[in-house]
């Protein structure tokens, strides 16, 4: 089936034929903007792949001429090879330091847990960034915003936390639907200086006895509405953490006592 045409207006300026040909043959890598266009544009990508299929494979360095293809090395690293193919790659790896190193690097990247990685960039790149919010004084405008959510309760308790230009306001009120429990309403607001984000989900975690050093357990997860509001209901008294998942980071309110 042919690839259907796209309608993205940003994709009108296609890579020209000489550029694509030189890139397909690994003779000259285009600039970053052209590369990104080729990757996004189905027409240019189809042309690139078609050109590549007509060209001979790019030769490896002389010292690697007898090494198995990188795909075979990777498959060996992932224990995906069987029978004669496995024995053949295994025999080569016993003799070839470079292929042994490729197996190790592949395992480190694809299999092993993050903390063992050697690279400078390390594993934090894979995980979402965690930011700890700190308690800050309640300002009048925060209270106003919370009052707008629902009728103001005289007994309401408000706490405000801040992290990297983002403010998280929490209000605790008695949950009339379940005796002895509470409603936790939250609002996220941002400073002008804060980097733009999409607010996705909020999670409430119960913190066990601090002495027990147990990991907090998730008790509820709710969507953040309109990039700002979230609510946990039927929350029994106790110690909690709140995690707010934004598009570029996870804001952690480490200590919320209900």
């Amino acid at each position: 089936m042919p690839w259907s045409q796209h309608s993205d207006p940003g994709l009108e300026n296609h890579a020209d034929a000489p550029t694509l040909q030189a890139y397909a043959a690994y003779e000259r890598t285009p600039d970053d903007a052209t590369l990104r266009h080729i990757a996004r544009c189905p027409q240019c990508m189809a042309d690139l792949v078609s050109l590549r299929s007509q060209l001979p494979a790019r030769p490896a360095r002389e010292s690697r001429a007898h090494c198995p293809p990188v795909e075979a090395i990777q498959a060996y690293a992932l224990d995906q090879l069987k029978g004669a193919q496995k024995r053949s790659v295994e025999a080569h790896i016993k003799e070839c330091l470079r292929c042994a190193a490729e197996v190790a690097a592949s395992r480190e990247f694809l299999v092993e847990p993050a903390p063992q990685r050697a690279g400078v960039a390390a594993a934090a790149q894979e995980m979402i960034r965690r930011v700890l919010a700190t308690l800050v004084p309640v300002s009048p405008e925060v209270n106003l915003a919370l009052r707008d959510l629902s009728a103001w309760d005289e007994d309401a308790k408000v706490q405000v936390f801040a992290a990297e230009g983002v403010k998280v306001s929490l209000r605790k009120t008695a949950d009339e639907a379940a005796h002895g429990t509470f409603l936790l309403n939250g609002e996220i607001s941002e400073d002008e200086a804060a980097s733009p984000f999409i607010a996705i989900s909020a999670r409430l975690l119960r913190v066990a006895d601090e002495m027990a050093e147990a990991e907090p357990t998730v008790v509820a997860e709710v969507p953040i509405v309109a990039d700002s509001f979230f609510e946990f209901d039927h929350v029994p008294p106790g110690a909690y953490q709140i995690e707010l998942l934004l598009s570029d980071r996870l804001i952690v309110v480490a200590s919320v006592v209900v």
Partner: protein
């Protein structure tokens, strides 16, 4: 709530990004939105879906790239965009040869990550740092060796796998591990290493000294792997 199949591409892609972020943060997530986007791009071969797919996963591939143990080296040879584009090109090419299965999001994401790994390894095998290829002095310089001949490997006296593990275990810090990768996997010569990382390694003399220290530690740590007459 609308089924993923009923959603327009823009909404589908937006949900895909959100669910991917939830996945990375270990929040509850629904893989069906992402799977539907992959299905439309690779199964139905909708060009617009391909563009959305790229937009959704470009950052993910970039993060993988930077977490690769060879990233520090290969990014001296080609830009981020090269590795991202090559990864998508290989996925496209593989799907052309034989349609990829898109019924398990974990597997398709794993496949994409493995594809990036092959792009990185292939580049290490084929290209040296730019600008030094034409330098005749460098071209005539032998790549650093451990002082072991291929015959010793072939005769089965030494297992390259054991030796590599021993070399890595003998390094003291990330800088030495990087040097080990540069010298014995990427086959960069000392002058190339210094040219690519002047602030880190300073001079070829320092590279040689670091190399000698590592070899000495390997020899002490695993004497059965490295003959005593090894060049230090």
């Amino acid at each position: 709530m609308s089924q993923p199949r009923d959603l327009g591409l823009d909404i589908l892609a937006h949900r895909c990004v959100q669910e991917s972020i939830k996945y990375r943060a270990h929040f509850d997530n629904d893989p069906h939105y992402c799977l539907e986007l992959w299905r439309r791009a690779l199964g139905d071969k909708l060009g617009e879906a391909w563009t959305w797919l790229f937009d959704c996963y470009e950052d993910q591939v970039r993060r993988w790239l930077h977490s690769h143990p060879l990233a520090f080296a290969v990014l001296k040879v080609e830009s981020e965009s090269y590795f991202i584009t090559e990864t998508f090109a290989r996925i496209w090419q593989a799907n052309e040869r034989k349609p990829l299965k898109v019924d398990d999001l974990g597997k398709i994401i794993e496949y994409a990550k493995q594809t990036l790994n092959t792009v990185i390894l292939a580049l290490c095998r084929k290209q040296r740092p730019d600008g030094l290829d034409d330098d005749q002095d460098v071209a005539n310089e032998d790549p650093p060796t451990l002082g072991l001949s291929m015959e010793e490997f072939i005769q089965g006296k030494i297992s390259a796998r054991e030796l590599w593990d021993c070399i890595m275990a003998s390094t003291h810090d990330a800088l030495e591990q990087q040097l080990v990768y540069l010298m014995w996997l990427c086959e960069w010569r000392p002058r190339e290493i210094v040219a690519a990382f002047p602030a880190v390694y300073g001079s070829t003399k320092r590279v040689d000294q670091m190399r000698a220290n590592i070899v000495e530690r390997v020899r002490r740590r695993c004497p059965h792997l490295v003959p005593a007459n090894v060049r230090r």
